[in-house]
Subunit: 409 residues, 2 copies
């Protein structure tokens, strides 16, 4: 965390509750020259269920391939996160590094290798050094427990602030807690790629239902954000449910408390996703885009991401320019059903264009005022259906270019 | 053309041959405050065939909708280009402006309205002022003929240099000439959107075969370039064949000279397309990306454009950084068939990564030297098939942000 905090960072790390059955530890493996804690270990109680979503990249890291398979078994006892080296595109030696870590942790806990999850984030193409990983493990497995904030810092790479979120819900008459940490801003950093997110809860949840809930929450949160449209080879979100709160395991949407638990899970994921956008490289403004009236929710999401990924829309916002023509352009290029003469666009509370042309008597002053703020709200009504979606992004500034072009990796 | 010429601009406007049956004229309609020629008129001989390709935007200008229909009839007598106002997203008043221009020119030439083509480029959302259009027409229809370079300047908006190309071919024992002009760099300018390209030839070509050839050439040239991935509401390429060179009209690929004519057409389109990239906003480097070994040519093109549109790849090139991991990332996110462990990557003549990992003994020095040049060559072999494609783009620099964010529109 060598850059100053993003201007969109929250004032302080939020309150994140302790989770029964989760113990966090960090250590220095020394993956980079920086003196920092770069290995994080979450030890999980026996009986912990797990669910995961992973990058859709066709060139993922071995960690991702391994995690996809292991998460289908649904059980977890440990998570190891390496920061500073993504171990992606490293062939057989990358695979051996993961297998070494998994074997060492499984031996320590007396569990199955498939109960151990590994993520790595950082430079692509350099095999994770096994000696450094082993040196880190020798410390981390028995290190003093640490806080959520310590762990959130240790999993970070070019992040400018630590990101966490907490929530609670009543399930089967009992209070359950959720805690989450996340790093990254999609594939946005010089070589330090990747969004990694982890949510932990003491609720008891059947792993296949946990997967259903995570997939749904992911579509509405982590998959509805973008910084630059680039997708990492290592993106991973895992949810661990220790079951230490007791009670029968949630196993379907009709169970008592399932809706409340899902709402809390989505809230944690949304907060973490927003923090990722708020740490977008060079970000000066946080942009929410609401698309309504599309043919379907999925169509609305695609249109929203087309707007959110448009360099011209993002630079216009950076320049505080009420350039709604660029929003029309981005709707048009999305490839989704749209009718030019039914389209309406809103900046903040002001309708700018409606039914295919500029609003009669349109005054730019309130729009210009809205665009001077840090929180930008764009509404687009497609006018042909009932589909809707909300996506989030940040503006595109000189800071992005400086971070990604001016400094050699 | 108020910005200094792009560092990638050619030293001078190329030789572009006169085309029998084509007369160019320009005038000042006064669409913007700048004192400039902003209306261009190409008068075409009777019997001219036309073919066109247009933006796939779902929110196109009326000019595009009208041009699509008229080009299907296959006949042309005139082209009018307005610069400074795109007339896009302007509802009924935008449509009336086009209809007024068409009627006026058709009356002047004594031709059908569907023989008159109109393009407009510039600000989105402001109806083209009919009084200014009429004032321009009153001058332009009878103005002194002008050169290709004059016309190339008059159709430009934020272009920093005039773009043209010429070629010739032997068809049926006769020499035929081709001339082309183009403006823009995709949807990259502040409000001045749009790529508009026009090719003229004295060859005799059946309009449906002309359309076949244009569609093929377009896929390999104009549709294989990208500056920022944004798509204008007005992109248009038209080819006009006056037939003044005489001889039987080309009507199919087996005709004598069809291959030679197609090769000349593709050459003109490629030269124009490259000039558009060379005028990309803020461009400092011209990048060619060759993708081989993909499942199909179309799959190769999609992978190539994923690399060419990646902000991280483009900023790495701007920073002269041999960051091949970002190329892996961009291949992975393209969504096309790929196998991480078969992938190879080349920068200039140097193989950097092969079969899923960095090349043994890889030395960065020759790659770093290549990246210091203005012409960058990236090769990616997917290793699974025979499909190939070449795409072109430019780097992403502070100049792009300055032009699009720092100056209010």
């Amino acid at each position: 965390m060598s850059l100053p905090p993003s201007p969109l960072a929250p004032a302080r790390f939020p309150y994140v509750p302790p989770i029964a059955g989760v113990t966090l530890r960090t250590a220095r493996a020394g993956y980079t020259k920086r003196q920092r804690f770069d290995m994080t270990y979450a030890e999980l109680a026996e009986g912990t269920a797990v669910a995961g979503v992973f990058t859709k990249s066709r060139c993922p890291s071995y960690e991702v391939q391994y995690g996809k398979k292991a998460s289908m078994l649904g059980r977890a006892r440990a998570l190891i996160v390496n920061a500073g080296n993504s171990n992606a595109f490293t062939g057989l030696s990358g695979r051996r590094a993961v297998e070494t870590i998994v074997a060492r942790v499984a031996h320590h806990l007396g569990c199955q290798p498939s109960d151990v999850f590994v993520s790595s984030t950082g430079v692509i193409g350099v095999p994770l050094p096994i000696d450094k990983a082993e040196a880190g493990l020798a410390q981390v497995l028995t290190a003093e427990p640490c806080s959520w904030e310590d762990a959130a810092i240790a999993i970070g790479t070019t992040d400018t602030f630590a990101k966490g979120a907490g929530a609670s819900a009543i399930v089967g008459g009992k209070s359950v807690q959720l805690a989450g940490i996340v790093k990254g801003s999609g594939m946005i950093a010089p070589d330090m790629a990747t969004m990694l997110g982890y949510v932990f809860t003491d609720a008891a949840v059947d792993h296949s239902f946990l997967q259903d809930m995570l997939s749904k929450a992911n579509a509405r949160t982590f998959n509805a954000i973008t910084v630059d449209g680039d997708t990492s080879t290592s993106d991973t979100v895992l949810v661990f449910a220790t079951g230490q709160a007791g009670g029968a395991a949630l196993s379907g949407w009709d169970d008592d408390g399932a809706d409340a638990f899902y709402a809390a899970l989505e809230q944690v994921c949304r907060s973490l996703a927003h923090q990722v956008v708020r740490d977008g490289e060079g970000a000066q403004k946080f942009i929410e885009i609401n698309v309504t009236g599309a043919e379907s929710d999925e169509s609305a999401r695609v249109i929203g991401l087309s707007i959110a990924n448009s360099p011209l829309v993002k630079t216009a916002i950076a320049g505080e320019d009420a350039n709604w023509g660029r929003v029309v352009m981005a709707v048009g290029k999305a490839g989704e059903p749209a009718e030019r003469d039914l389209l309406s666009i809103r900046f903040g509370a002001t309708e700018v264009a409606a039914k295919g042309e500029v609003v009669r008597g349109y005054e730019e002053a309130p729009v210009a005022k809205h665009l001077k703020g840090q929180e930008i709200d764009i509404g687009v009504d497609i006018g042909i259906g009932e589909g809707s979606a909300t996506v989030w992004t940040c503006d595109l500034t000189h800071g992005y270019i400086s971070i990604n072009a001016d400094y050699r990796s």
